[in-house]
Every structure is written in structure tokens, then in C-alpha cells.
Symmetry: C2
Subunit: 378 residues, 2 copies
């Protein structure tokens, strides 16, 4: 773990770079907005901790009414349970006896759930749970259009649920019906069409479950791009959005029904960088390349420097094109960059530097939280 | 820091996934090949530790004749010096009093060099060195075509060298003339043309230095894609290749003069992944997405599974298209993936799992080295 780039009480200008910055005011408004949405809609919310990898943030979500959190990896679940989170769903398949033994151990200390998409998995999880004499809640993941994990909707999924229900140490919890690739479809119509198919897949599976005398207590899914659509279906009852806490540049490329940018949530996550070279008038080189700002979802946005465009990232450098910039930053100036994709960006940093009053002259470091599950990949 | 996914003595099949694997046999042959090249050519070699971020690997390079290593960040230099490396060049600009104070402190314990591309930097580094009463060696970085950091070649660079030479705590070491964007030009002719311009830029600067009575002791640059060309120029005398230790999929897309793939070095770095879902015949989902295999340089290669193609990476998943695969892997099987780009891949992992005899039935974990400077970004 690297030393923290800042200490509470420092001014923003004193933070060493590159650093991962949280605009605490915007972040808290984002948490509040999603919590209020779920409360009004009457659905449970189980935010995705794969985005933030932090028990501190998870606890703030739970304090606002979340039933718990989900994550993708057993190693993330370990960090979250160790950090005091009492209800964790690994919204993913877990394969291998070593990993399942670790997962089962967590069930002594928290309510643990996991997904399956193969009959063999049911026996494997039962064995791990039996060895620890714990109960594990299991969701059947169905492929709702993402063509990744998940069994086909309908009879095959229901059969899997029946196998779970017959096991002594397992409880059939419901269906994992998350549509990942729908999240960044740019128009509302596209997202609606994708989620309509997901809803159909869920309904088809519910009908097959009923034939077996089974019921899915939980229909889980939905991300920041589509959660209103799943909620509106009346079928989903547990939402798993992650990115809403930070809101990244890629989600800002989504469009609402009226064609304007998706702006329900505010950009609350930034990478602070320093201009380290200004040797040519048309460019500024910043000390933030793709080792701190991954480019899987495109380029970061330059925050509040009109005309400056980030591009040509290499491992440790990014190049700001300032040819259209009336007032380019000078060597040594600090700039804020909005990550294209918050999840993998967070995973590259050891610390969140929380700023209160960002954008005001009194901006100060209020908190320095570890990204406790940074690198937790297995 | 995450727990290690393996322990010495384990079989490859026992390594938890995803894990960063080093084929120790191929890796050592790569080290030997580059060391032998430099010995025969009579040039110094200062391998780039930004690739491996490991004092263990740096020490093995030094043991084979490297004069020291280079890195890109002060925080990397700190880890390397703490790990016993006696000569470290930060082959990059360092901006800010905090960072420079840390750099100067290292000069009590190691020979430290750094680059500049601005007159202000000379005064800033002198102040930091004076405060510690140490000597810092300074290279003038010239822009040899990469349009990133670096002053224009010629008189401006020579003036900067003169400013360095006049400072009490600084020594003018030479020119940093690395051409990053030339490394992955696919044909030898393209790479030769780019480096010819770099050589011209160096010669022009040397002529201007001579007018001031200065000489560049070191002409530094060259990466894994072009090091033979810089060496052949007779102008460069210190090589900075990094990727040769591991050889990634992107470098394997380079072509030699005869049009065949660049194969001087062997793939020695892999991500070991597990097939976590096989719910559809046309695909296998592995537990390695872009949080462990960044995609800035394209997709990883699937190692020795004919017909399997890695694609559609998301945060924690990769999808193998096995439609053209005569013998697709089964759920639970482990697969090796060759990273597209070794540097940012290494930076996502906490541990190197070193395997002796990879590809043989007796493959065993021999070493588990920390990626000690993982995340060292400032």
C-alpha cells in the first residue's frame, strides 16, 4: 500500500499528485438521491461495492437504508465483512474449493449470498457451507441479454433453483437478472428495449419456478444506467447500482428521454494531476496516464478548463491539447480530471482524498479513506 | 496489499486466480539475451523498472551487468532504493517541492538522476539538493518526436544543460532522448525512420553543447521495440528497455525486417484465470476482466488453446469466444492469458507468482515476489 497523498486539513493545492479525489458534497448528494428514489419507489437497494471497494462508503450507504451491498469477488466480500458490513451478496459465480471455503467462513459473521449458473456449483457451495455448518443464500443468475454468465431464462433456471432449495445448507434466494451491457446504451429507448427483454426473461423464469412450487424472494439487478426502468417494471425488487456514488464521464454520455445528458447524479470522483511539462504551446503534459486513469471506456474529461482535451495517454503521462484553450494551465498547476470509468479507476488507487467545498476557495481535505479492497481480485 | 494467491512448492493448478504468473525460465532467458546484447555492443544498459516495479527483478538485472535502473516516479525510486538498488534514474520530469525533497533524500543512499525540460526545474532541483547537501545528476530531456515532455533539440536544450552545469549541487549528465511512440510502429522501416530523426535531434544538440564547452556523458533512450536501432547509431550509449523482461502481446505485433513477428524475447508474463461460467456452448467466461488485464493496448492472447479468442472484457469478466475452438476449456479449468501491455498489467497486481517449468507436468511455484512499487504513482 502506498503512502497517502494528503492529510486532513490540507488545502487542495497541497495534495500530492496523482491523487483520487472525492467531492464529498456531491458524493453525499448522490447517496441521498438514490436512497430517496428507492424509498419512494418501495424497492430495496443493495449498492454495488465493486465500484468503491470501501467499507466506509458501504457503511454510509447502509446508513441511508441500503439492505447491504453486493460485490464481485470473495476477496472483496472479506474486506467488506471485516469492515463491519453485515449483509453481502457476491453477485457473481464463485468457482473453486479454496474460494468457496473462504466464502463460507464469512457466513459466520454476516449474511452471505452468492450466484450460480451451473448445477455443479450447487453441490460445491453446499459442501463448503456444510463444512462450516453455515447457511448460504443462493441466487440463480439468468442471462438476460448480456451473453456473459447466467443460465438461459425459464425451465433450466428453475431446475437450478429446485436443486438449491433441496440442499440443507443453502437457501434459494431468488434471481440475479442484471443486464450489464444495457447500462451504457446511449438512448433511453435502447435501454428500455433491453430491460424489457430482461423483464420478460424474469417473468418466464418466475412462471417455471411456480410450476415447481418455488418463489423468488429477490429479483436483483439494475445499474446506474437503467435502475428506473427495472423499478418501473414492478418485477425487480432489489437494485444493485454502483456508479451513482461517483458518476463517471462514460455515464455522462448516456442520454435521457429528451436527448439531454444523464445528470441525475453529479461527478463526485476526480483524479487530481499536475502539469509536469509545458514545453510546447499546443500541449500540457500531466502526471496522470493510464496507470491511474484507465481508458477502457474512453478518455477522461478535463474539469472546468474550457477547451482543454485529454488524450494520447501513456503509462504515466496524459497530454492535454490546449490549442482551443483560452487560458491553458501553467507548469506546476493542478488540474482535475473526471475518470471515464469509475470502477477500474478506483481500483488503481490506494486512497480516497475527500474534499469538502471543492470548487470554493476554502476547499479542504476532510477525509483520507483507504480503498480497502483495491486489488481484491480473487 | 492483498494476500498472495500462491505459495512456493504449489502446483500451477493450486494457484488461486486471477494471478500474475512469471515463467521464470523464459524470463531469465530474456534477461540474459538483453544483457548479452549490451555486452557485445559495448553499450550500458539501465533497464526500465516502470515495467516490473520490483527491486528483486532490478537486482537480477544489475547482477547481469545493468548499471542501475530507471523509473518514472519518485515513489518508484523510493521503493527501488529501499530495495537495495544503488543507481536510479527518474527518466521523467519531477514537479513540486514535496516530490523533489523526497528525491533529494534518496541521494544520501543511492546515485540519483532525473530529467528536466524547463529552466524553472533547474532552480527547483538545485534548491532540493542544496537542502539535503547532496548531488543530483540531471539529464536534459529533448523531444525526439514523441510530442510529450522534452524541450526542442538544439540550442534550447544546450542552454538548459549550461544552467545545470552552473549549479553547485547538480551535475549535467547528458540527454534523455527516448522515443516512446516509436516503440510500437509495426514495421522495421517505420521504426528506423523514427529513430533516425531522434539520432539527428541528439546530434544537433551535441553540436550546440560543444559550442558551450559541454559534453553529454550519457545519451539515454531506447525501448524494447527499437534498442537495436539506437545502439546501431553509435550515438546512444545507455539503453532503457523495460518490456523485454516479460514481452507482451502488443510487442509481439511488431514485425522484424523480414515481416515475421518480433520474437527476440519470449512471453514470460501471464495472467492465470479460471473458467467461471460455461453456460453457453459458444463462450467461456473467465475471472479476469480489465481490472486485472488492462486493454489500453488491445486484447490479451489466449495461451495455447487453439481457436480461443479473448474479448468483451468488463471489470471482472473476460469472454472467450470458443466457436472456432476444437477443445474448449471446461468450467473450473485454468487458462493462461498473455497481457496486451505488461506495464499497466503488473501495476494491477500485488504479487508475481514465479513458475519453474511452465508448460511441463512438473510446473511448480518457485517464488512469490511482491510488486513492491505497485501503485507507486507520485
Amino acid at each position: 500500500m502506498q503512502p497517502a497523498p494528503a492529510a486532513p486539513g490540507q488545502a487542495l493545492a497541497e495534495v500530492d499528485t496523482p491523487a483520487l479525489i472525492v467531492d464529498l458534497d456531491a458524493y453525499e448528494r448522490n447517496l441521498d438521491r438514490m436512497a430517496e428514489f428507492a424509498r419512494v419507489a418501495g424497492v430495496r437497494i443493495r449498492p454495488h461495492a465493486k465500484t468503491h471497494k470501501s467499507p466506509v462508503i458501504a457503511a454510509q450507504q447502509v446508513a441511508r437504508g441500503a439492505v447491504g451491498v453486493c460485490c464481485q469477488k470473495v476477496s472483496e466480500a472479506e474486506v467488506l465483512v471485516r469492515g463491519g458490513i453485515a449483509d453481502v451478496l457476491v453477485s457473481n459465480e464463485v468457482v473453486g474449493a479454496t474460494k468457496l471455503a473462504r466464502l463460507a467462513k464469512l457466513a459466520h459473521r454476516a449474511r452471505i449470498s452468492v450466484c450460480v449458473d451451473a448445477p455443479e456449483a450447487v453441490a460445491e457451495i453446499e459442501a463448503a457451507a456444510a463444512a462450516e455448518n453455515v447457511r448460504i443464500n443462493v441466487l440463480v443468475e439468468i442471462d438476460v441479454g448480456g451473453r456473459r454468465c447466467g443460465v438461459p431464462a425459464g425451465a433450466e433456471a428453475a431446475r437450478l433453483a429446485g436443486m438449491i432449495a433441496n440442499r440443507k445448507h443453502l437457501a434459494f434466494e431468488g434471481l440475479q437478472a442484471y443486464h450489464g451491457s444495457a447500462q451504457h446504451l446511449r438512448t433511453l429507448d435502447e435501454r428500455r428495449a433491453a430491460i424489457a427483454k430482461a423483464v420478460e426473461a424474469v417473468r418466464e423464469t418466475q412462471a417455471e419456478l411456480a410450476k415447481l412450487g418455488l418463489e423468488a424472494r429477490t429479483i436483483a439487478g439494475a445499474g446506474t444506467g437503467t435502475y428506473e426502468i427495472e423499478t418501473g417494471s414492478g418485477v425487480y425488487n432489489e437494485l444493485q447500482p454502483g456508479s451513482y456514488v461517483f458518476m463517471d464521464a462514460d455515464y455522462a454520455r448516456n442520454r435521457k428521454g429528451d436527448g439531454t445528458p444523464f445528470d441525475t447524479f453529479e461527478h463526485a470522483l476526480f483524479v487530481l494531476a499536475t502539469v509536469m511539462s509545458a514545453s510546447a504551446p499546443e500541449r500540457r503534459v500531466v502526471d496522470a496516464g493510464h496507470k491511474v486513469l484507465p481508458v477502457d471506456s474512453g478518455m477522461p474529461l478535463v474539469w472546468q478548463i474550457p477547451g482543454a482535451i485529454y488524450g494520447r495517454p501513456s503509462d504515466e503521462h496524459g497530454v492535454l491539447d490546449v490549442t482551443a484553450c483560452p487560458k491553458p494551465p501553467a507548469r506546476g498547476d493542478k488540474v482535475l480530471l473526471v475518470p471515464a470509468h469509475c470502477d477500474p479507476t478506483v481500483n488503481l488507487h490506494d486512497w480516497y482524498v475527500g474534499i469538502r467545498g471543492l470548487g470554493t476557495p476554502s476547499a479542504k481535505v476532510e477525509s483520507v479513506w483507504p480503498v480497502a479492497a483495491r486489488g481484491a481480485a480473487f
